[in-house]
């Protein structure tokens, strides 16, 4: 029991192999990938506590025992999904905010549009991350170095330069990032509530968010010069 598979997939916390190696090795049609995709879907939608391993197995079209054979436990499978999700979610930012070719303003536009597109493809991710990280923040977040991604970025440098050159007013970078990310992400997090409040249909609401790709950069620039 738990032979070679065990070494590859379950020792990721201890062995030298990175999660990314495992990702590359697995084909989309392979059983472990099927299970992981199913787990992703179910966890994202319901969260850890409300997800049943039987539901994940059914979603993957396999037996419950197989899930435990590959991933040993619900929790280990969850951690794997969480790492992949965080990596995807913050990795895609990294490309945009570290592009040396684009200006500060261009990055703001690309960031807003790119992120809204990303969340449109997987709208459950923001609420999933926020609510699951609440339980054990440091344990889950230490696996993906988000802080470094954000603070040592070209984007951050360009922000500081713009302040020094007097192009934008001097202001707290954390406030700026909170506002920027909040404007992008909040409509997705608050969607169920906001739909009821606004009385909009799914399509109307999505159209509104689509508009925000253009609007958020305008708003953010106005905010930056309002102090």
């Amino acid at each position: 029991m738990f032979k070679s598979k065990d070494k590859i997939y379950l020792s990721c916390n201890f062995c030298k192999r990175s999660v990314m190696d495992n990702l590359k090795n697995a084909t989309d049609s392979s059983t472990e990938e099927k299970i992981k995709n199913a787990a992703r879907t179910v966890f994202h939608k319901k969260g850890f506590a409300a997800s049943r391993t039987r539901d994940i197995a059914e979603e993957a079209g396999i037996n419950l025992a197989l899930l435990n054979y590959y991933f040993r436990s619900k929790e280990k499978l969850f951690v794997l999904v969480m790492i992949e999700t965080l990596t995807e979610f913050f990795g895609s930012v990294s490309v945009i905010i570290n592009n040396p070719e684009t200006s500060f303003e261009e990055k703001i536009e690309q960031f807003a549009a790119g992120y809204i597109d990303l969340i449109f493809r997987e709208p459950d991710i923001p609420l999933f991350i926020m609510s699951e990280i609440r339980n054990n923040p440091e344990q889950l977040l230490q696996k993906v170095d988000i802080r470094n991604t954000v603070f040592n970025s070209v984007f951050t440098c360009q922000f500081n330069e713009a302040v020094q050159q007097g192009k934008i007013k001097d202001q707290n970078f954390i406030h700026f990032m909170m506002n920027f990310i909040g404007l992008i992400v909040f409509p997705f997090i608050g969607k169920p509530l906001l739909k009821v409040i606004s009385g909009l249909t799914e399509e109307q609401f999505n159209a509104l968010i689509e508009e925000r790709k253009k609007l958020i950069p305008v708003w953010i620039k106005a905010m930056m010069n309002s102090h």
Copy 2:
């Protein structure tokens, strides 16, 4: 078994008594109030699925059976907590945004400051509402008429007046509300993540949010005139 208590506390969905009547009747020290407060704490912190009725009973300092005696089931207790939470959370807005004495700008300031204070007292509420409502939005939200509270408010009228009088540019009210609420609420929802990203301590982070009471109105006004 399930005698007079039953009629009062468990038939709230069917009988003529409102939830508010029950609230008034119960003293803070009474057993049912102790249970409800404990349920509130646990549900707010962990969400429905991760909360155990045994934990709630322990938090309340009573036996598990007593919880079911008073509230009949975990789910009924949860619905009660959710209604109270929504009522409190959106009721407190109502006072501010329907005050006929204050101007549009004053309401923005009071709304921001008042809401940040409210969430400071109960910081788990925003994420609790967002994540729990995702599962059955209409069922939970139909119990509190939020849409009416927002759209038929003095605040909404004053917004429309300001647009007509050319004081602010013509813009989508839904966008405006999403931005406004998002700026207030998102730092609390994203707190675990934002703390790690920023590297700030609890106190530093709270101080930052405190600043936002003054900053958000400034930002919002800048945004409103940026189209």
